[in-house]
Symmetry: C2
Subunit: 454 residues, 2 copies
């Protein structure tokens, strides 16, 4: 979707502006480095799939304070007039390093690092966090759904209960990035080229004098092979009606593509419906299920061997309802060449610009990461750096297409250690600090504790 530059500029916590005002008044123009990372994963997650980087960069390149924004800011007594005037010329001119969208990451590993004059690097905090937090949660949940239902067709049905239309668009993109096959969200189809799918709701069935007449009317008017929703009144009776319509269509050389179940005991019903379809001579009609699904439900279907070919996953995906929040932070790690960090309980940050190196074992699986200072040499030949420049001097560098990112992500998931490819328990993944980073970190802590008399 498209927040305007005005909306991007004002979609900020006021304190970004009060801090910027102080930096402006004090003439502080030193270069700051900020890291975006997760402090810890939600209790039921072994990894995070990163998404939302492209949107964050779009915000950075669009951020402008137009006349209306300046007029509103002048009305706030906490912002000096001269500072607000200076915002008319504000442009983000910094550099950004980031991992590829679709990358699997772990706590403390930078997702993105920003280097810019401190006023700029600070001012973008809110929009950068906002752009990446939610899509990463949805991509992570979508990846878990794929783990739980290997080989099944997964469709994003989330839009109606995502937290906004914008969020619905981001969720559709994140789910597709993580391997979903299609979405119900038409705008996501237009903007991102994601395949869009969908047929009818219960209300359609109810608007006709009977279920059978509704099926016939839909089959008559729908230009493709219809999917029939069979649970409005009674799922097994609905399956028989679907068979009847399939016979009528066969006489015309057409077919029913699938039936959809949306309520009841989906495992038991899927077996019964499969039998009805098979015995009637329609083994090619697929069964599609929806209704409050998530990775845990999908895993049950997989365990039960339920004869279901595809799933619509909606509200629980679009809200990441079992992990709606991750402790993702954007923290100053260096200012004017000096390391910066806070010592607050449980919230220590890793100083300086960093790189994450990932090792692939001989079996082709990842077996450990090292977080290093960015100016260090690689730990060895088998190590791959995850952070790359994505913006230089405020200009977005060429980014891979969504299709490429999706393919990379799917390959990445195959290389995860098997222990992490489960949804029923949380497994640690080995992440170490390089000796250089560890030494710099310790030096910085000592320096600050000494300086503050602690």
């Amino acid at each position: 979707m498209s927040p305007t530059p005005h909306e991007v500029a004002l979609s900020t916590d006021l304190y970004e502006l009060t801090m910027a005002a102080s930096y402006h008044t004090l003439g502080m123009q030193g270069k700051a480095v900020f890291s975006l990372y997760v402090r810890k994963l939600p209790p039921n997650r072994s990894f995070l799939v990163v998404a939302g980087i492209a949107e964050a960069l779009r915000y950075l390149s669009q951020l402008r304070f137009d006349a209306d924004a300046l007029a509103y800011l002048r009305s706030l007594p906490v912002l000096p007039r001269e500072f607000v005037d200076s915002l008319a010329d504000f442009r983000f001119t910094g550099d950004v390093w980031a991992v590829r969208e679709g990358t699997v990451l772990f706590p403390d590993e930078p997702i993105l690092e920003v280097e810019a004059p401190i006023l700029q690097a600070q001012l973008i905090e809110t929009v950068v966090l906002n752009a990446i937090h939610y899509p990463s949660l949805v991509a992570t949940k979508a990846a878990r759904c794929r783990i739980a239902a290997p080989g099944k067709t997964l469709v994003d049905f989330g839009l109606r209960r995502t937290p906004s239309l914008d969020a619905g668009l981001a969720a559709a993109r994140a789910a597709y990035l993580a391997g979903f096959a299609s979405t119900s969200n038409v705008l996501a189809g237009e903007i991102y080229g994601i395949p869009v799918t969908g047929t009818v709701a219960h209300s359609f069935i109810e608007a006709f004098p009977s279920e059978l007449e509704a099926f016939r009317a839909f089959a008559r008017t729908y230009p493709g092979d219809p999917v029939l929703l069979i649970d409005t009144y009674d799922t097994l009776r609905g399956a028989q009606h679907a068979v009847q319509v399939a016979r009528e269509l066969r006489a015309e050389g057409r077919r029913v593509r699938a039936v959809r179940l949306d309520s009841g005991d989906l495992i038991a019903l899927s077996y019964q419906v499969r039998r009805i379809l098979d015995e009637a001579g329609f083994p090619e009609i697929e069964i599609f299920a929806s209704g409050g699904l998530d990775e845990y439900a999908l895993a049950e279907f997989t365990r039960a061997g339920a004869p279901i070919d595809g799933f619509g996953v909606g509200s629980r995906l679009g809200t990441s309802d079992d992990a709606p929040l991750v402790d993702m932070a954007y923290k100053l790690v260096e200012y004017a060449g000096h390391p910066a960090l806070k010592l607050s309980t449980g919230k220590q940050t890793l100083v300086g610009a960093k790189q994450v190196w990932r090792h692939t074992a001989e079996n082709g699986r990842y077996d450990g990461d090292v977080i290093a200072a960015r100016d260090e040499a690689p730990p060895g030949p088998e190590w791959r750096p995850l952070l790359q420049p994505v913006m230089r001097g405020g200009q977005v560098l060429e980014l891979p297409s969504l299709a490429v990112l999706r393919a990379e992500h799917l390959a990445e998931m195959e290389r995860l250690p098997e222990a992490l490819r489960r949804i029923d328990r949380v497994e640690p993944y080995p992440v170490q600090l390089s000796p250089v980073l560890r030494a710099r970190q310790q030096d910085a802590v000592t320096m600050i504790r000494t300086r503050e008399g602690l």
Copy 2:
């Protein structure tokens, strides 16, 4: 924020369009009535505070298919060309009834009802649900925060981790509607006139050679009475630094307004910091706390009598993290004068256009609701109807200002039964069906079961 008419039109599940295409091809123009309601509340909620109605109505009045939207839809093989062409003239021309935003509602009670030709009433399903689902969850959580921290100043800090910038704007509005005092979200200040507040982050403190110098720099450059963030390195040392700056400001006739704690054991620290401030002769400096707070944390502070004057509530509010989802549905209840409903397991709908009547007992508290057919007389003189017309013939009727809605909501919360004004357990509220509605419902179920041979 402002999704364009194009974005509103395409932010829909594809099946709304495939159904509309069938209605168009079949020439079905009968009037449909749809009800929006929650089937059940989240397990940890006793009530729902409704929000998002104004946004839903804005979507309805803006929805247009422009040339680009039509071009994209023509590229989808499942939509007949002639139907897509007809969308060029699409306007929502229906009537809408709704409760006031800020109203407390319970399961099965209509939040909103739409009456329009079936194609129109169906096509808007996705955006109407989307507009109301998330803001209602945030308003509900905000109301619970107020219950947990009576008399305290509550500030929305959610924007950085809301699921989109749009969602952040909606959350700021919902929190203010439910009694929050202010927001950090500058755009929400501009658009809704909500007071905006905020001062500095840890990064500001870290950008200076020492905490004390950072406090002095901020005090020198900030045009008002500063709030000092004191937990970057050590909260108690930070409190002493705040005292020192407060003394220096006093010499200039200025003051420190508050200190903010953002980590550690906030209850213990608030007592220690209060003592430091009081003993130094600054009883007027307030203590403000933030950092992962929600209604459960606020209730602990209240129980402990922690000397904290205000709270920033952020990520857990903006994601409604303990209830990110409510089973809210938009269902056909009547078509062409005939009642409609589905019989799916656990998902029965109440037929026909409805009204909700609320009774106030002699003690001034609500003591029960009746869901009735809309054409029924009131149950009695002490009963107030909750649904009112808000849109006629596609035109939005005059809606109350946010300030009025907020005042009404705060009064409404005072009239809730005391048992419902708790956050630690769920209490039922008596909601009955009127005898007329119950009879019509039973007749409709019997009619459909007979018709479908069940």
